[in-house]
Symmetry: D2
Subunit: 415 residues, 4 copies
């Protein structure tokens, strides 16, 4: 077990840790711990919401998650010798939920998948599911089951949703500029088109005083993916993966969290995946001047690990870039096409007795694959969603007899 | 070898076949051959362009492809007893290039990947590659190599780009309505936002006289995917796949073609994939009333085959929904995000000595995977492109030494 | 499609072909066709028995197969420039059953699995199944089903059972010497311990007169695998595989046949696998002096193809080197251990309604994996047999309810 | 993390634990802890030798391992309600090396592979490698590297070598009878043909007095696999695997250990695999009367997990049942054939600069596959060894240029 360079007490919020993390991207968040190229080390992480999500049957806690506080990151970890222009080579050696049972936070034998209400950020299908929902998952080694989703059992592909290096000041300013411009196109929209800097609930690690104030004021929100990495939600950042991060500031300053016990391609519920606190073990190295050598200047490049669970049969759903009313056509819009594929899958699963909310939560958490199939055949983009049949304890394939719809209960809802 | 119910002489265009196919979707295209549930049968197909693409080093033929004629389909195959509301169960038993060497059309030992010029439909990266290009591929069993792309050798995942059932008259009218509305939003755009009905170059199978004229006038173009299937470009419609098509008209009327020797997820060059003529063997069956039973009303559902080539190591590229200028932010736009991932891959491959055009053609043809990674993290969609490292005969992974750029020639260009 | 350098008319036995093949290994069998390093070419093959096996419900034809005639090989193919000490690099580009329907021989849309009677060579379980049996398989693209084995449907991993280069005279003499010595230890055994040279039914290709007589007298039987390759029965010699054969004589002289539509690891019925006639496409090359360079002197080395059907769930059976009476212990005997694993699988499948003979035939033909698990833990070797659960159309896994035994008929038996 | 029902202090031998385990199979070893069907629980295990193997460059410790003490087992775990005739359903939820760094025993960040000397049990290739050797492996998450085997890095498939239920008294007596009979056929052989009961170094768990004496006198050695499970060395007993064990005594009495960080099919060095202490998490259930229902009476049946590392390219070696002198032929002897395949692989690897001992240790520890290819083609069995090419940091495939032999040092040897 490598040495722990960033520790978490899962019973306390990030702000109250001995060495707190941060929830804004800024070049001046102080390094929390230094490591060297070649080092192996462990980083502990809070559940991304840093809230008190409960192992219960009410989704009120999901409804009330404070997005101003999310996503809460561990770090920054400084890497000796890293300079702008280098590539930071990060091997994910291992990761998982909290090893020792010390309380009752997500990651301690269980996790959850949430759907946010439309008023609180929504999700990919928020126009169809505007309320908040939750499913609790129990962990059995690498396998997850849920009392809120009976009939399902699968091997998770555990990964961090979010890691990245610190942006330069110039890059940060560009982010804020372009995101503000986007929000300004429809400032009253719910959910908003973007989340621009705000000092509310900001946490700047070990920074204090005017430094902390400036970080809070200028720092980019940790919600999306950007050039530095960020919230990729790529399930294949799992054990054995190697990620090449661009370095924009001295020491690289690697931060992250948002550990997922499982998720498919394409987190669709915003608070999707099976969320948990836990640990992640890294090995780091540097390719000096690697950004120019390999033209990796604006997004990390990665090599997935070779231990993804092996599923060999899928039932797959297709969507095209035509609205659900079937009357509105979009031009090669993969987002619309994938949404349609998701909705087609939801309708299909309802025929087997799941509620729409249950199906939505399931698609957010299970090892599905989201594929871009056709992106040039004017005017319709075509996307597809691959759902492994082996995760169901019944036969989910179409047959001449038709599906057997049984009562499968319901997920956690708001009171 | 199953009986052939639709034959092609590859030396002649579709219009001159004994039983011609069609290039418009319309409920009244007459059935070319009838089969029964439980039958196994073979359908032969022309290269989708139905043009005379040459095994040479000039892309002039690609530049001059007539989109009014594409995609040319074999069929319709009528299925006895099929009625609106049923699901047509189609098993893809086998498919491949033309078995007998009888001339020199694509599919007879070779195929091609093209990039269309911006003025002629363009492609996914047409703003960056506005001209026409071509690469010729040689077939060695299931393996492809190209003199225009040295250093690459891969197992193809052969599949049809395009199959579907006939639309009902009501559905056809809806398609035409919504696509015209989309085109009307920017009627002078190049390439156009959609391809609306036009009698030019229309082919209506065995229909003659006023029937043929009406089909030519009303028939939907065969370019995009729609509710009936159509141009999915899903690589996993390969040997062993089972597709459940909605049935909208009596006899179902299955048509298709556009066979690909290989393609990744996400055809990106429009005339991408490795295009060829060839054959496809089907088994068909019916699930009576299956559309309602399984809520499969608007797009086919499928189960992929289990013989996809096995690649276990990938170098993967990420893109987010920010324009290449890094200053313009789009709201959860997966199309932009995937384009960025593609461009990132192109830049990377250039460091190893490929031209941008070569890299673009390669990504269009090789067994890459295009994944939707994050689609809810405001404001950035995140997509990724998985490129198998095993298809290169050199080490394509980043190392401390940096890449070895060698002269890798060039693809076919226009004169 | 590569040029055919060795042709077969499937309606005639090998002896009556225009250019006959051979059924004895000997350095002096004349070359049937010459190819060059870098060439791609096709070889057509007879069903290994070269007999008239019928698509019917009687196993009399299997009972009467003449082992003196088996295995019948196509070739030898000479490779220009090949000299003793080289490695012959053979790529298997493609292979399959006879493409054109011209009659009713195995390979023309169907194949068979046989169990030999104990008096005629027996099989791996001959002490438990001493009679002859047969199952007919129908081909549906790459998928096989059998009216004699209802409830089963799988993707075959098509491969040649037997290819090899010609032995040198010195090597041939060594083979004959050591096999005679083995037979002499128990000369009256049924089945015999080995098959030593015999002119009966010998076929020596294009050789005539005294040459043919000498080959018939001295030539090694084609039944086992030996240093030159031979009857490997390795299922992963499939599309995309590359084999490095030692070269012992001028021109290498590659010969083979015994094409299998499907087989697991470990052919267990002798006439197991799904036997058929068909074609195989090769590419050949040379590594000059490769035998010494790579220490590949006594058996081929190979790299399996990457298109093996993907099955992800297995029910696996274990055997140890203790006899079925449970009272006799063998010392680290993997053969006994694997036989026990096979018998355990047979007993298990009988609980689902198959007869023992059906189960035996199924294990011989389906894509099972045969593993050597422990080979040092005194005194018991431990082997295991992995049976993919996805090939059954019922749930073959153990449950609390117990198995559902239904009448599954019977295979073809002798009258 | 499930509750631990059997604890180990890795700094102390098994005899000195608070609740000691056992190293003899006997129905009367007292239950160490009871669990119920449906329970999840953790069992901690010592390195199988229970000796003080050092993280150093001397193989003297391997030379001196006392086989009288091996294999040391944790347990027995009693399962409430289990009765003879039931099947015990054991899910392997998770397993791994010792989570907390508390000293310097194998499993605490490192493990080892050993080769025993011929005088001390030997190994599969003991006639070629008669001395003792050792390689130390460092763990990096699921990845292993070794300073004694430079150029190699692979993902382990962690599994227990040995678990089983207690035999009945009748079964135990049968074991002792048949193994004594085998030993009696050549009582002076080195290594011996079997290991018969001996009170020397026997440990009987919590049993004391005359009970302990009787267990020591009658108890079967824990070295081989037998009807109850035992030392299977099956690498696919990994995370997610489900094993169905026959139950022969009240409470089933599950015991085991011998955890491996990695091993291929076919442990070949006796002290092969990457040996370590660690933990294993189980879920158990019962199928009442399952032995008769499923005809699982003499060996466990299992379903492998779906998280085996994915390697897609192999270089594979073939062996046949002819002795290394090439002059002695054995009848369908898979043990000889597999030994030949192993020796062929060793010779091949030596061409790249490894010593024979290094190659032998590597084959014992890496995720190779050992296959039974042909077992009926008189007189030669044919086995093959699949070595993944991706575990080497150089190109291990044959090329026209020939291999690059570099100095790769040496493993640990005896002084």
């Amino acid at each position: 077990m490598p040495k722990t360079v960033f520790s978490i007490d899962q019973s306390r919020p990030m702000r109250d840790q001995d060495v707190p993390g941060h929830n804004r991207w800024h070049p001046d968040v102080p390094v929390a711990a230094m490591v060297r190229p070649g080092d192996e080390f462990r980083v502990e992480c809070r559940d991304w919401t840093d809230a008190q999500i409960g192992n219960n049957d009410s989704a009120n806690d999901i409804r009330d998650v404070d997005l101003m506080r999310c996503h809460m990151l561990s770090g920054p970890i400084g890497v000796e010798g890293a300079e702008p222009g280098d590539l930071l080579v990060v091997d994910i050696l291992d990761l998982g939920p909290v090893p020792q049972q010390t309380g009752d936070a997500p990651g301690q034998g269980w996790g959850y998948t949430g759907v946010f209400a439309k008023a609180n950020g929504g999700g990919f299908l928020t126009d169809y599911f505007p309320d908040a929902y939750k499913a609790i998952w129990d962990f059995h080694g690498q396998v997850a089951t849920s009392r809120h989703l009976p009939g399902v059992r699968f091997t998770g592909i555990t990964h961090p949703g979010l890691f990245g290096t610190a942006p330069s000041q110039e890059m940060l300013e560009r982010w804020n500029r372009r995101e503000q411009a986007l929000v300004d196109t429809d400032p009253d929209r719910v959910p908003p088109l973007g989340l621009v800097p705000s000092p509310e609930q900001a946490l700047a690690g070990k920074a204090t005083g005017s430094d902390a104030e400036r970080i809070a004021r200028e720092g980019a929100r940790t919600v999306p993916a950007r050039e530095n990495g960020g919230n990729h939600d790529i399930k294949n950042f799992t054990r054995g993966a190697r990620v090449f991060y661009p370095v924009y500031v001295k020491d690289a300053k690697l931060s992250g969290g948002d550990l997922h016990f499982s998720q498919g391609d394409g987190e669709i519920t915003f608070c999707g995946a099976i969320e948990m606190g836990g640990y992640i073990d890294f090995h780091v190295d540097l390719i000096k001047g690697g950004m120019e050598k390999y033209a990796i200047t604006t997004n990390p490049v990665f090599m997935p690990g070779n231990v993804e669970p092996r599923y060999s049969e899928f039932i797959s759903f297709i969507g095209i870039s035509v609205d659900h009313d079937t009357e509105t056509n979009y031009y090669l819009d993969a987002t619309v096409a994938y949404r349609r594929a998701c909705l087609n899958a939801v309708e299909y699963l309802k025929r087997f007795g799941y509620t729409g909310e249950q199906a939505y939560l399931l698609l957010g958490a299970a090892p599905i694959e989201g594929r871009i199939s056709g992106i040039v055949d004017i005017p319709n983009a075509c996307c597809s969603l691959y759902l492994p049949t082996g995760i169901f304890d019944f036969d989910v394939r179409p047959t001449a007899e038709g599906p057997k719809a049984v009562d499968r209960g319901q997920c956690a809802v708001t009171s």
